[in-house]
């Protein structure tokens, strides 16, 4: 495997399966009385979060601690960015303390790539701008595999603000790599140009959901109304919201997913979010196991870079 996990493109299909298999083993650790293994003992992992995020950061932190790593959380306030310390300087300062791994979340696409050029530590992308969120796609795939025999050949519908979603990009790369048929849907104002070239079909929400095995909802942000992407949340819900009625057109054993946090009544109806097809809470639970797998697989030996 490559030194860093910046994008799903860094993983081959085989490597993705390896992560999922390892995550299965990691999941069991969470069921033990002592939820800890000594694997990353003595390793230092820095969580460098430029964007506030309770869910992802907690998930990584628990994963790191379960592997006995020493974790260090740096929550960069917007003000210190304004005070002028560049990402490059922060990175070099952290690097000077020789962490083994850095988990970074940042609001600029490509921030993790910049970090990777500066730091020798292994870099894990926990979300960079609009670009990617690889561990989310991996835990989504893990969740799907718990309910479906295989990802290959599945019809997956992804609905929502495609333009601004890093979860979309990572999921599209992963699902197409593993042979799923991905249909994406959203208001035309929120469909990224050229997205069909990534191997997905752009469809109406009804065409996307019809006979789907998996329906994945993406968050809609209030701010998008300011950008004139759509006129109101109410209209969005009417045209694209995942209601029980819409879901009924999917396969009878469909699973409903959402990376969270959810806007109930905007992209998804409460009955659906809490309903029998929803696996949204499982996604959260699986996040720890998948992140443990990624940390373990990336941690490797000291001389790995030279050999790779």
């Amino acid at each position: 495997m490559k030194k860093d996990l910046l994008s799903i493109d860094d993983l081959s299909a085989d490597e993705i399966y390896r992560v999922l298999d390892t995550a299965e083993a990691m999941r069991e650790i969470g069921e033990r009385p002592i939820k800890k293994v000594p694997t990353l003992r003595g390793k230092t992992v820095v969580n460098l979060f430029y964007e506030p995020s309770t869910r992802t950061r907690t998930s990584f932190e628990i994963a790191e601690k379960r592997l006995s790593a020493d974790t260090l959380n740096i929550a960069v306030q917007a003000s210190s960015v304004q005070k002028g310390e560049t990402l490059a300087d922060t990175a070099m300062n952290i690097e000077a303390m020789s962490p083994d791994m850095i988990v970074i979340r940042h609001s600029s696409s490509g921030a993790c790539n910049l970090l990777s050029r500066i730091c020798k530590s292994r870099i894990i992308n926990a979300g960079d701008g609009l670009h990617e969120h690889p561990t989310q796609a991996l835990l989504d795939a893990f969740t799907i595999k718990q309910h479906k025999p295989s990802i290959e050949g599945l019809k997956v519908a992804i609905v929502g603000d495609l333009l601004h979603s890093r979860v979309l990009r990572s999921n599209v790369l992963l699902l197409t790599k593993l042979g799923a048929h991905v249909f994406v849907s959203g208001p035309p104002t929120l469909v990224p140009r050229g997205i069909e070239q990534l191997g997905v079909t752009v469809a109406t929400v009804d065409d996307a959901v019809r006979d789907a095995d998996v329906v994945m909802m993406l968050r809609i942000q209030q701010e998008r109304m300011q950008g004139a992407f759509f006129p109101s949340l109410r209209e969005y819900y009417n045209l694209f919201g995942m209601t029980t009625e819409r879901v009924s057109r999917a396969k009878p054993d469909v699973i409903i997913m959402h990376p969270g946090p959810m806007n109930r009544g905007v992209e998804i109806a409460s009955e659906v979010a809490d309903g029998p097809y929803s696996v949204i809470l499982e996604q959260v639970a699986n996040g720890v196991a998948v992140r443990m797998a990624v940390l373990y697989l990336l941690a490797g030996g000291v001389e790995n870079e030279a050999a790779a």
């Binding site: 600029s108 990009r169 990224p192 140009r193 070239q197 990534l198």
Partner: protein
């Protein structure tokens, strides 16, 4: 002091020349151009080795010299040194300095700095509006008198159609073109890359080609309406070129320029080999292959009038940040000639004559400058090209203060042997070692 350049190949399309000619320079003027000229007593004779090409001095009509106000990026002195190293005998510099060049004071300051440096000629371009804010027209007459050769609000389009109309009408008095940075600000939004598959994949906000072409259409229509002259700066989108062709066909007074990066590179460079390399970030952005190919086509078929670099130096620290935060722009003065020779002439797309039209004849004509030809009595501004010189682009070694270029490490065929301004050799490439 008289110098006779003997037996060199001279490409001078304005005078219909492409062949072996002798050039006699007397002081700062061209004294005579002919065949088998005899050298008088006291004339220094330079036997031109074969393989070199003598052309009228190259003129870059789109350069940011950053002085006054941003001297950490570049100064007039370092800028003109970079220019002559790149083979340019003259540059026209943009007014988006700090303070903006919207008055005679700043214009004179720039001209004084250029005179002190005494290398390439500097022709300032003034602002259309005060502070380039797009509200009130600057005193264009004063700017012209102080030495400006054109006006622009470059960095932005002229903010309103009304102001653009007025500027086009008003500049008719001075026979100055309005140079326009074509961009609809609302369509550009907070975009940082060309809106297309690459930006979508990399999660970068996009700037569609139409943001440029829609504004170009506005300006060309206004030029046709007013009879004024508009020059489209740094054209990048195929739709803009279509608009230019249409405007020209209708008799509008429109000219256009393309920078080398827009006819060589595409947005694929943002993804690989170095993803999010900020040296691929400029405005207008690198676009898709269809746009790049359209620019090449325009260069070949004559729709494109000028090649200008949009030399935009930025300090390393400013570029060594996340892609979103980096300023737009790359340097261009020292990479232009090798790129043009390698990618346009040696590739067989255009002739030397056409290249000189793009790099000298047309810029001189559009800005009404002395230059663009090798004519008796005219200033002795010459560029001596070494078309077969092997050039390896080395950002570290560049004379510009800034090293922000995506071409670092490129190996190209073609370079500059020497640059002569007003009869004086201001640059002599040690790799060619011409005794000039």
């Amino acid at each position: 002091m008289k110098r006779l350049l003997k037996g060199g190949r001279v490409v001078d399309p304005a005078n219909g020349r492409d062949g072996v000619f002798d050039i006699l320079i007397d002081g700062d003027r061209i004294a005579k151009v002919g065949v088998n000229l005899q050298a008088e007593e006291g004339t220094v004779v330079v036997s031109m080795p074969s393989g070199l090409v003598i052309t009228p001095g190259l003129i870059d009509m789109h350069v940011h010299l950053r002085e006054p106000g941003q001297e950490h990026k570049e100064t007039v002195a370092t800028g003109v040194l970079s220019a002559v190293t790149g083979g340019f005998t003259a540059v026209a510099c943009m007014p988006n300095t700090s303070p903006v060049n919207d008055n005679a004071g700043v214009t004179q300051f720039i001209l004084k700095k250029a005179a002190d440096a005494n290398l390439a000629r500097v022709y300032p371009i003034g602002a259309v509006s005060i502070g380039q804010k797009g509200d009130q027209m600057a005193e264009l007459g004063e700017l012209k008198e102080a030495g400006c050769v054109a006006v622009t609000d470059d960095g932005h389009p002229v903010r309103t159609a009304l102001l653009m109309r007025r500027a086009l009408e008003y500049t008719r008095m001075f026979d100055m073109p309005v140079i326009e940075h074509c961009e609809d600000p609302t369509l550009k939004g907070d975009g940082v890359a060309h809106e297309g598959m690459v930006a979508s994949k990399l999660g970068l906000r996009g700037i569609p080609g139409e943001a440029e072409s829609i504004m170009a259409q506005r300006d060309i229509a206004l030029a046709e309406m007013t009879g004024g002259r508009v020059h489209i700066a740094h054209m990048s989108a195929r739709q803009t070129l279509d608009a230019v062709r249409y405007g020209k066909s209708r008799g509008a007074n429109v000219t256009c320029e393309v920078a080398p990066h827009h006819f060589i590179l595409t947005d694929a460079l943002l993804a690989a080999p170095v993803p999010y390399d900020t040296n691929t970030k400029m405005n207008p952005p690198l676009r898709e292959a269809a746009d790049r190919d359209a620019m090449l086509q325009g260069i070949v078929d004559g729709s494109v009038d000028v090649i200008a670099t949009d030399h935009a130096p930025h300090h390393y620290d400013e570029k060594h940040v996340e892609f979103d935060r980096a300023p737009f722009g790359i340097t261009g003065l020292e990479t232009c000639v090798p790129l043009c020779l390698d990618r346009l002439v040696h590739s067989g797309l255009i002739s030397f004559s056409r290249l000189i039209e793009l790099l000298s004849v047309n810029p001189a004509r559009i800005l009404r400058l002395p230059g663009g030809s090798i004519t008796e009595g005219a200033p002795a501004d010459l560029t001596i090209l070494a078309p077969d010189l092997h050039v390896k682009v080395e950002a570290k070694a560049m004379k510009s203060k800034s090293k922000n270029t995506p071409f670092d490490g490129w190996e190209l065929r073609g370079g500059v042997a020497a640059t002569i301004v007003g009869g004086r050799t201001v640059y002599n490439n040690a790799a060619v070692n011409l005794a000039i």
